[in-house]
């Protein structure tokens, strides 16, 4: 599995990974009827840096890295991660996160913050925690899950 910067030629493959996740509406605060262009703009729009995990010419996952705030908050970064349907259990998310932590540190960020981790997304939370993230806050009922109703969201943070 190779992780490399994304190019425009990856747009179709990235959208193919994003679409089922955004349509499901269970993990990201994105309208479930988001269009391809809106989704790619959200994922890849400036100032995001986008990476993809590739194996034998097939994309297995993608992440973006971006400052979480501007001005006095620009030394803390934010990331988003999506893995391709059917790759569960192959460690793609862990590889992406590990790459992101190195890329963020190399870029001079001092910390990484996840603003909104849906509390029912226990698989992701376990990965973040195993890589040193702490839950620094819990937002009560902040996410309307399509099947679970109002569920909490976590703010997670780790120094770099």
């Amino acid at each position: 599995m190779q992780i490399r910067p994304a190019t425009e030629a990856d747009d179709d493959s990235i959208w193919a990974m994003l679409e089922p996740v955004f349509r499901a509406g269970e993990t990201y605060c994105i309208p479930r009827d988001v269009s391809r262009d809106e989704a790619l703009d959200y994922w890849s729009g400036a100032p995001h840096r986008v990476f993809v995990a590739e194996e034998n010419g097939i994309l297995l996952g993608t992440y973006f890295l971006t400052p979480n705030q501007k001005g006095g908050g620009a030394h803390v970064c934010n990331c988003g991660f999506v893995t391709a349907t059917g790759t569960t259990g192959r460690g793609v998310a862990r590889h992406l996160l590990s790459h992101a932590l190195h890329a963020a540190k190399a870029a001079g960020y001092r910390a990484m913050q996840f603003n909104f981790v849906v509390a029912t997304n226990t698989r992701a939370i376990a990965i973040w925690e195993s890589h040193g993230f702490n839950t620094i806050g819990r937002l009560p009922g902040a996410f309307l899950h399509p099947r679970e109703g109002y569920v909490d969201a976590l703010v997670m943070y780790r120094a770099l």
Copy 2:
């Protein structure tokens, strides 16, 4: 003191209130050299609803009200508040917050979230707390204060 929706005719007066706050760089994650147009776009750009507090034709403060997230997070709102230089102690911020809480509830929001309250901004924190906001998380060193160096930022939240 009357609080009313802002119009384009208020832009100069709103910028006059925003400029010293953003130039000081002590409370908002906005580059200190932000331009007038960038600042107004940040404050008043869609989907923000903007209000101003006015007395005898003079603007004393302004706030915006906006969804804090899209999709499954759109039922939680976010606000930003700025008061005019020289109005400290006149209760302008309290009036704006009280108005915002009513406007948010009337618009159907279920909660209000402040994502990034700089911990040294104790005056604001005292006002938010006195109006029912809880600190649900503390982001260590997340803000680079121009005089204090790296200081914490708070995530504050209250149900509506």
